[in-house]
């Protein structure tokens, strides 16, 4: 039965008897949903059975033994403290581990920072190198390159003419 009202009444009934008002709500619900009656009776019966579970017998000297055991535990704790063993508070036990963790973290951060700086320096050097390269000339200048190049080529000397002129 998935009705929220029924579920709520059931959860209440698990732990205690329903109040008169709650019982009236239940009666109204069961009148409207007679199919839920069998389940409710089973629930009630189970609750009664669980509440009727027998108490486990407890030894008559249970309390005395528990107190004696606690006193013994206290005495043992006092002896350990008196033997020079320092009973450290819990936070002191964690201090060395916390310190180690801090050192490791700091070393990691320093390494990362150094790596970043090195990388940055390399990038700067790269940029400087690039900035020294002359800029590529305007392509228009090179348009007449072939013509100019051809003009600068001088023909070879006419040897025969030179001989005749001498």
């Amino acid at each position: 039965m998935k009705d929220p009202q029924y579920e709520q009444l059931r959860e209440l009934n698990w732990r205690r008897k329903l109040t008169p008002a709650e019982q009236a709500q239940l009666n109204a619900f069961l009148a409207a949903h007679p199919e839920a009656l069998a389940d409710w009776e089973a629930e009630n019966s189970l609750t009664e059975a669980l509440n009727g579970l027998a108490e486990v017998p407890v030894a008559s000297n249970f309390t005395a033994r528990a107190v004696a055991a606690a006193r013994l535990a206290q005495a043992q704790g006092d002896r350990e403290a008196g033997n020079g063993r320092v009973v450290r508070p819990w936070w002191l036990r964690w201090l060395p581990k916390a310190a180690l963790a801090t050192v490791v973290l700091a070393a990691g951060l320093l390494s990362y920072s150094h790596l970043q700086q090195t990388h940055r320096a390399e990038v700067i050097r790269s940029l400087a190198t690039v900035s020294e390269v002359p800029s590529i000339p305007n392509p228009d200048i090179l348009r007449d390159f072939d013509t100019i190049a051809a003009m600068s080529v001088t023909p070879p000397a006419d040897e025969e003419l030179l001989k005749v002129m001498q």
């Binding site: 205690r16 019966s45 059975a49 486990v56 030894a59 528990a66 055991a69 006193r71 535990a73 206290q74």
Partner: protein, 203 residues
Amino acid sequence: MMSDELDPDAALMLRVKQGDWDAFTSLVDKYKQPVMNLVYRMLRDASEAEDISQAVFVQVFKSAHRYEIASRFSTWLFTIARNLSLNEIRRRSRHPADSLDATRPEHDDQPAQQYEDRRDLSPPDRVLHGELEEKIEQALAELPENQRTAILLCRGDEMSYEEIAKVLGVSLSATKSLIHRGRETLKQKLKPYLRSGSWSEHK
């Protein structure tokens, strides 16, 4: 906050924190029965249940400095009881030969009924009189531990669902779900007895 406005158990624990043995004795007297009821039904061994229940109160004393008034003492107490019982169940599963008297189920949700009279004051024979009581005890023992514990803590109006959830370490909705599922299983297993109303007839 004045100590007389505190929950009575919290007031006693404040005194235990200061080494008051009378306060500690009062708490043991008040809670030894409910602790034994829970621990026995988790371990299904009377002798071990008594040892573990003793250990629960020793742990309460040793951990008194960690107790916070904001939480109810019973919630804290039953959390310790459950944890120590679970530790014992795990220890059993790792060292099954340790005890020759108890049966050793592989899983903590299997029944391990202990009826041997190991002491003059053996609980099982007194507890489990009658077939019907035996049936419900067996059905409870067959439930998964978390469902069984949830149902046992839910009995009576002692603990709220929120407090039961804290003991189990789960959410409120998960707690109600555990109780619901456990009860459905119990209803199925005990159907012949529940339907016929045999509980009422035999009580």
